[in-house]
C-alpha cells in the first residue's frame, strides 16, 4: 500500500478511521475544519504544500458527507498557482467540489484560458479536463474557439487533442451555437481520418452529439464511420494496446454504430452493402465465452449492432435473425443478457412488424415477470405490455393480476395502470373488463387511481347489459372481510344505481344493501377539499395565476405559474384542479410542464399547501346510496381525455 506522500493527509485520514463512532468523527472533522479555516484566513503563512494538503483534506471531508461551505476560493485560487503540483490539485479539487452553477467559477475563466492557449502542454491538459468536466455556458462562450483550435491543430499531440474533442463536446452540449456547422462538417470528416485511436474515440463521441442534432450537415462522415467499423471488425491496424480482451476497441465500435443511428438512411449501395456485411458478421459471429469481460465487450458491440439493424429497417430475414437471437438471450442464465434481451425485444416492437415472432416467446417472458431481480421484472412488464393484442390479452392480463398479489410496492402502481389499460383496450367482452378492474381494486386498491374506477363506472353506466353483472360483483366484494376503501366507493356507486336490478336475490334487498354499505362506509376516509373560491385565493397567495375561462367547467380551476427547482430551469407549468360536485370527497389535480421531475415537484408542493391549510368547517356528509338512482356525476368527461391524462 503506497502512502499518500502527504503525511498530514494520511494522519488525518487515519484519525477519522479510528473514530469509534459518528459523534467522534464529527468532532474530529469540525476541529480540522476550524483549523483549516484559520490557516486560510492567514494566507501569507501558507506554503504551497500546506495549501494543497488542506484543500485535499477539504475534499476528503466533503466526501465523508459533511458540508464544506468555505474553502472553495482556495481550491479555485490554486488553479492560478505557477507550479504544476499545486495547479493540478486546484484543478482536480475544483472539478470535484464545484459545478457550473457556482458563481465564482467564473473568476477562474481567465486563468483557465491562459492555460489553454499557453505553451505548456501539461497545463493545457489540466485546463481542458476541468472545462470538459464542469464547464458551463460562460466557459462555452469564452473558450470554445480556443478549444476548437487545439482540436484541429496538427501541432498538438494526441494527448491534448483527445481532451480537446471531449471538452468541445461538453461546450457544445451547454451551448450548441459554439460549433459553427458550416465550418465543422468538413473538419469533422477530417477528424475521422485520425490514426490515433484515442483521439478517434473522443472525436467519435463528439460526432454522435453533433449528428444527433443535425445529421444533414454531416453526411460526409457516414461512409467514414462505416470504414472505421470495417477496419475494426477485420482487426486491421489495431495496435495491441487498443485491443480489449481480443476485441478491437469495442468502445469505438459502439460509438461508430451509435453515430450511424442518427442518419435516417444509408443511400450509397456500396456503403450499405459493406455495412450490412459487418453487421451480419457481428450478429452471427458473437459467441459466448468464459471470460466475463470479453463476453461483455463483444456483447456490447452485438447489442449496438442490433440497435443499428433495427434502425436501418433491414430485410425481414435479418430482422428474424435478430428476434431469434433475442429469443435465445431472454432464456439464458446470465442475468445481464436476459435483461438486455428483454429490453431490446421491447424496442423491436416499436420499430417493426415482428409481433408474431415475439409472441412465440410469451411463456419465457411471463416467467421473467416473476424473476427475483426487479430490473428484469420491470423489463418483462414493459415487454408484455407492448406485445399485448387481442389474441393474448386475456392471458397476459390474468398473469399481471396474479403477479400483482405478490409484487413489491415499487411496481404495483405501474402494474395496475398497465393492466387496466390493456384490459380496456383488448377486452374480449365487457364483463371480463369489469371483473379485471374490480380485481385490481381488490388486490392493489392503494395503487389504483381514481381515473381507473371512474372509467369502469362510466362503462357500466353506458351499457345496460353490464349493469346487473356489475352490481352483483360489487355485492359479492362487499361480503369480504377486509375491503379497500376504493372498493367501498365503487360498490356504493354501483349498488346505489343498480341494486334494484338485484332486488330478488338473497342478501340484496335495499335494506340489506343499505346496512352493509353503512357498515363498510366508516372505513372511507374522506377529506373534504376546500371550496373552489378559497382554493383560488390560496393559489393567488402562492403566486399561481388563476386563469378563468381556460376551462369552461365551473367545477374546475386552472392556474399557471413559472416554476423551477434545483435541477431544472424555470418552466411554464399549468395546473388544473377538477372537483366533483356530486362527490365532495373527490378532487383531482393534473399538472403539465415540460419536465416530469418538475411536474412531480410542483405537485408535491401544492399538495403540501392544500394539506396544511385548515379545512373549512362545512365538511361534507358521507355519500349514502338512495333507493332510486340519481344522475351520474357530471365531472366525468370523455373517457379518452380521462385516460389521456393518465398516459
Amino acid at each position: 500500500m503506497a502512502l499518500s506522500g502527504m503525511r498530514g493527509l494520511s494522519v488525518f485520514i487515519s484519525d477519522i478511521r479510528n473514530c469509534p463512532n459518528k459523534e467522534q468523527e464529527r468532532l474530529r472533522v469540525d476541529k480540522e475544519l476550524g483549523n483549516i479555516r484559520t490557516r486560510f484566513k492567514n494566507e501569507k503563512g501558507l506554503t504551497p504544500y500546506e495549501k494543497k494538503k488542506y484543500v485535499w483534506k477539504m475534499l476528503y471531508i466533503y466526501m465523508l458527507g459533511y458540508d464544506v461551505d468555505f474553502g472553495h476560493m482556495e481550491a479555485v485560487s490554486l488553479i492560478s498557482a505557477p507550479k504544476y503540483p499545486e495547479k493540478q490539485v486546484g484543478y482536480i479539487v475544483t472539478s470535484s467540489l464545484l459545478n457550473e452553477n457556482h458563481d465564482f467559477l467564473r473568476l477562474a475563466i481567465n486563468t483557465v484560458r491562459n492555460d489553454i492557449i499557453g505553451r505548456n502542454e501539461t497545463f493545457q491538459c489540466l485546463a481542458l479536463t476541468l472545462v470538459g468536466n464542469i464547464g458551463g455556458r460562460e466557459f462555452a462562450e469564452s473558450l470554445a474557439p480556443d478549444v476548437q483550435k487545439l482540436l484541429i491543430s496538427s501541432g498538438c499531440r494526441p494527448l491534448v487533442r483527445k481532451k480537446a474533442a471531449l471538452c468541445l463536446l461538453r461546450l457544445y452540449r451547454k451551448n450548441p451555437d459554439v460549433v459553427n456547422v458550416d465550418g465543422w462538417s468538413d473538419r469533422m470528416a477530417q477528424l475521422l481520418d485520425e490514426r490515433d485511436l484515442g483521439v478517434l474515440t473522443s472525436s467519435m463521441s463528439l460526432l454522435v452529439a453533433l449528428v444527433s442534432n443535425n445529421h444533414e450537415a454531416y453526411w460526409s462522415c457516414l461512409p467514414k464511420c462505416v470504414k472505421i467499423l470495417e477496419r475494426l471488425a477485420r482487426n486491421q491496424d489495431v495496435p495491441q494496446e487498443y485491443t480489449y480482451y481480443g476485441i478491437p476497441s469495442p468502445w469505438l465500435q459502439v460509438k461508430a454504430m451509435r453515430a450511424l443511428q442518427y442518419f435516417p438512411t444509408v443511400e450509397d449501395p456500396n456503403t450499405r452493402r459493406s455495412l450490412f456485411e459487418v453487421l451480419q458478421r457481428i450478429l452471427m459471429g458473437t459467441d459466448v465465452v468464459k471470460n466475463v469481460n470479453k463476453n461483455n465487450a463483444s456483447h456490447a458491440v452485438l447489442f449496438e449492432a442490433l440497435a443499428l439493424v433495427m434502425h436501418l429497417d433491414a430485410e425481414k430475414e435479418m430482422m428474424s435473425q435478430c428476434v431469434a437471437l433475442l429469443g435465445k438471450f431472454i432464456a439464458v442464465r446470465e442475468p445481464n443478457i436476459r435483461y438486455l434481451g428483454l429490453e431490446n425485444m421491447t424496442r423491436m416492437l416499436m420499430v417493426t412488424d415482428v409481433h408474431d415472432i415475439i409472441k412465440r416467446h410469451q411463456a419465457q417472458i411471463i416467467t421473467s415477470l416473476k424473476d427475483p431481480d426487479i430490473s428484469i421484472r420491470r423489463r418483462a412488464l414493459d415487454l408484455l405490455y407492448g406485445m399485448c393484442d387481442v389474441s393474448n390479452a386475456k392471458d397476459i392480463v390474468e398473469e399481471l393480476l396474479q403477479y400483482l398479489s405478490t409484487s413489491d410496492f415499487a411496481m404495483r402502481e405501474e402494474l395496475s395502470l398497465k393492466a387496466a389499460i390493456l384490459a380496456e383496450k383488448f377486452a374480449p367482452d365487457l364483463s371480463w373488463y369489469v371483473d379485471v378492474i374490480l380485481q385490481l381494486i381488490d388486490k392493489a386498491g392503494d395503487f389504483v387511481s381514481d381515473d381507473i374506477w371512474f372509467r369502469v363506472v362510466q362503462f357500466v353506466t353506458n351499457n345496460e347489459d353490464l349493469q346487473p353483472y356489475a352490481a352483483l360483483k360489487a355485492r359479492e366484494y362487499l361480503d369480504k372481510l377486509a375491503i379497500h376503501e376504493t372498493m367501498v366507493k365503487v360498490s356504493a356507486y354501483l349498488l346505489g344505481e343498480y341494486s334494484h336490478l338485484l332486488a330478488r336475490r338473497p342478501g340484496c334487498s335495499p335494506k340489506e344493501i343499505f346496512s352493509i354499505l353503512h357498515e363498510k362506509l366508516p372505513t372511507v376516509r374522506g377529506v373534504g377539499p376546500m371550496p373552489l373560491a378559497d382554493m383560488a385565493n390560496l393559489f393567488n397567495s402562492l403566486q399561481l395565476m388563476v386563469c378563468p375561462g381556460l376551462d369552461p367547467n365551473p367545477n374546475n380551476l386552472v392556474a399557471s405559474t413559472t416554476f423551477y427547482s434545483e435541477s431544472t430551469r424555470a418552466m411554464l407549468c399549468l395546473i388544473r384542479i377538477e372537483t366533483d360536485p356530486a362527490d365532495r370527497t373527490q378532487l383531482r389535480m393534473t399538472i403539465a410542464s415540460g419536465d416530469s421531475a418538475l411536474t412531480f415537484e410542483l405537485k408535491e408542493f401544492i399538495k403540501e399547501q392544500l394539506v396544511y391549510i385548515p379545512i373549512p368547517p362545512q365538511a361534507p356528509a358521507p355519500v349514502l346510496p338512495q333507493a332510486r338512482p340519481t344522475s351520474p356525476p357530471t365531472a366525468i368527461t370523455d373517457p379518452g381525455t380521462l385516460l389521456a391524462g393518465l398516459l
Binding site: M1, N99, N133, L169, L197, I374
Partner: protein
Amino acid sequence: MIHFVVLISRQGKVRLTKWYSPYSQKERAKVIRELSGMILTRGPKLCNFVEWRGYKVVYKRYASLYFCMCIDQDDNELEILEIIHHYVEILDRYFGSVCELDLIFNFHKAYYILDEILIAGELQESSKKTVARLVAAQDSLVEAAKEQASSISNMIAQATK
C-alpha cells in the same frame, strides 16, 4: 453520457464521487443515499443494472467496493460495465493489486486516474498503456517539483547558517 461516478463501500461509505452533470451538494447527498439503499441490498446473482429516476445505474462490486456509473436510458449498458472494469484494471496496475485501503489513503490518485479515463462523462482513453504512461508522467512532474523545492530550501538553509 455518464452523469456521475460513485464508489461506495459495502457499509455505505463513499470513497469517490465525480459528477459530470450539475448536482447541488444537497442533491448529491440525496442521490448517494438513494443509490446506496438500492444497490447495496442487491444480491450477487442479479444483473448489474438498476433503473432509477428515469436513468440507469450500472454497478459492479469488486471486493468490498461498489463502482457505480449513472447513464441515460438509451445508453449501452455493457459498454459502461466494461468502462468500470477498465478503470479498475488501471487502478490495479497502478497500485499493484489494489484494495480498498489504497483508495482510502490515496483517493487523490484515484481522482487523477479517473480524469484520464473520463471527460464530460465519456470515455477518453481506452489504452491502459497510455493512461499508465500519463499518470506516471504526472507523478514524476510532482516528484521533480518536490526535489527542486527541497534543493532550493537546502540552498537557503546553507546560505543562512
